[in-house]
Subunit: 250 residues, 4 copies
């Protein structure tokens, strides 16, 4: 098997073209994941590709009907009016630093191939306590994007987030830069401990302003509860498996 | 050396063909390992291949007579009436996530080469407490397998196992799917702390129903005690070696 | 993407030639980093190359203006009178042992290509307590360098540092040796817990003697405080991200 | 750089031929290392090759005179009467499981190239408490070697060591087996906490009987004390460096 496999659900993806990619992989407070999956649902996006990789955790996911599928990342495609979007979502990010880079590089190549000229990456910004009115922090990979992001309601501050952005949300911007793709990262303030629909609603609002579309947010909270439940199940399984691991894997 | 080496014990394996592969590598409660090794013994299966890999722990196993062999995985072959089976068993699973994928992919390729059309993977489902009457949970890689598995006595529930299946038991199903191999995973409920012959007996019973064969289960408990003893020795050695490791390996 | 990419800021670097490379990557007490960055500022060095790699942490750094860049290492070039210098600085060292070797090997190749005949590596020597008058310890990759280093004020003692030098500061000397590059490592005594400008001032002084140049040290302390602040931000971000990681990365 | 480099000290090693290789890399109680280094000294063995690798810790060792060298493994050659021996010693074993395999495979290839037909691997067997009269445990890679090993005074017991042999001492036997090299592992009982010259003396005695040579053991204890001192220094350096690492390496 290849280290990373991109499999188009439908032929070779030659019919799929969009100028914008929105990334919402798992991360802090699952804010990005929640926003992206909500948009996929509301815009009735269809899956166009699956990405499998040895850099994901070595496990399968069990669907509600008892069938399994490999842990993966997925690409969805949607139209809204005359606008077209791609969404990158999935079960996990890479388990290794090297894998993070190699996966992000694959995503940037894939984006270029599909006509993407701008990537939005979505995430949470963990502050360690509950936040009443979460702000949306922004970061960009070109200074001329800044004004647009601030006008849409995001805060670009020299002090937050202090250090950097770890994982796909950062790397897509960094690797996209040298390959001519504009990148904007939106991070919703969140405690960091639970799936946070309130933070997601704020990120969704800023993102929709930037995209020039409207997305109904009323089911976001319910979707957040479902996601929290699913994640708890995943975490439980992994914990119980990991405890036993010591007995059979050095 | 290659990263993964498959060495047929007897020529090139060209005489070995079977439509069914049963995987029982180490895992939770060693349920799968116990069932597979018991069947190997009861069906007088013979070893047909050894798999060595840099993804296994870097160690050798000492046999009772003082001779050593590399830690490995092994393929056994058995006939029962007009039925033919392959068994995949071994000392360890991979020590890394990437290795898990690459080993599982090798096993699927090997299975295809040997005519396998269905893989059964066996494991334990850790519940963290003793279980009086352990159930057997099932998962499948195609929905049309579900009815057969339930009819044989396994439970396919939307809520158990919650998150997924880690390691070979899951990956063989996931990687087999895209290559045309049917996959069924049977997991016996178990506390997760000890080799569990009671859970293994239940898995064996469901599996035999699915295979349409009979296997005597009377020695399963004794075999479980032996396996527990062997594993304790392995774990002790590794612990004592690991403690010292800090002094000579960064 | 390549595992390691060297990108000259300005064409192919053919105009950049210097006999001396000074390495000051992050390390104990950030002594080396502080000295090298201070010299870059005082000598008005200009950036000539950026090194990106999958062996660095998978993250981007956010600049004060909200734009991001990939975590990287950088090469600077400066003239002082008729002397020319290269500086190797950056955000991080490798996250893996293998990456440490492969990056250091790349740096030695790059140095050879740019005419370097001597490498100075700078670091701290952690003693675990505050030091009033920090000494500068030296190590060399050829015995004939010893006298010069001691004459400049560094201590070469059979007992300190006891064991060895970990990371780029050591590997550049070790890998340089077999490729004909002289190597001198200067380590300032430091508690090891904070960015240590006092230790850096001592290392700077010994280094300047060896280089035969003068560098104003008055702003070193202020630069140390800024660096401490930046590092705290980085560490905070990473901690908060790492805590959450358990919930979505196996 | 190659992942593993074997560099003959003197041309291409074409003059070096020996039927026996004795491995004494760092390990439990440093018993093997102590025996092999003692023999190298007593037999006035000369270094014939250095092995460098990205699988060793990324560090250099500082010699007493302040010069550094890369962490490495080394091959020594000695004659005693009409007998010829090779010794494999060094600073470290691999830092990763995969590296352990790849290094051991390189050593077996090198041994074959140099005419080796038998490998002795030396180590300690940690029992967790002080031992008054340490026994020497043996393991072999061919059953017909057993009698000879027992006759020389080693104990081959079905229960000790329980689980296996981790690292080079085991892998050289395991990988040698399929390539036609006889392998004998001798393990001296030891507490596991300190360099143990008493255990080393016992292993040396059994090994000399097997080799049919005599080696003076009187300086073994003193050599053990020196080694303990050197190791403490190494461990201290690594600890202090590791503590700081959290601040600059993710």
């Amino acid at each position: 098997m290849d280290d990373i496999t991109v499999r188009f659900t439908d032929g070779d993806g030659s019919g799929v073209r969009a100028p914008v990619l929105i990334e919402g992989l798992p991360g802090i407070g699952h804010v990005g994941k929640l926003v992206a999956e909500h948009m996929i649902h509301e815009l009735a996006a269809r899956k166009v590709a699956e990405i499998e990789s040895i850099y994901f955790p070595p496990q399968v996911i069990i669907r509600e009907n008892g069938t399994i599928r490999l842990a993966n990342n997925e690409l969805y495609y949607a139209r809204s009016g005359d606008k077209r979007f791609l969404f990158l979502v999935g079960d996990f990010q890479s388990t290794s630093g090297e894998g993070h880079y190699l996966l992000a590089d694959t995503y940037v190549s894939l984006a270029l191939e599909l006509g993407v000229r701008r990537i939005y990456t979505l995430g949470g910004y963990g502050v360690g306590h509950l936040v009443d009115v979460p702000r949306v922090l922004g970061a960009v990979n070109r200074e001329d994007l800044r004004e647009e992001v601030e006008a849409a309601g995001a805060v670009i501050s020299p002090d937050e987030p202090g250090g950097g952005i770890i994982g796909a949300a950062g790397l897509l911007l960094g690797l996209g830069l040298s390959r001519g793709i504009e990148g904007i990262c939106l991070m919703g303030e969140t405690s960091g401990y639970l799936v946070d629909p309130k933070s997601a609603a704020r990120v969704l609002s800023v993102l929709c302003t930037l995209l020039g579309i409207e997305v109904n947010a009323t089911t976001l909270e319910e979707r957040g509860r479902e996601m929290e439940h699913m994640i708890e199940r995943l975490v439980d399984t992994e914990r119980s498996m990991r405890e036993d691991e010591l007995r059979y894997i050095v």
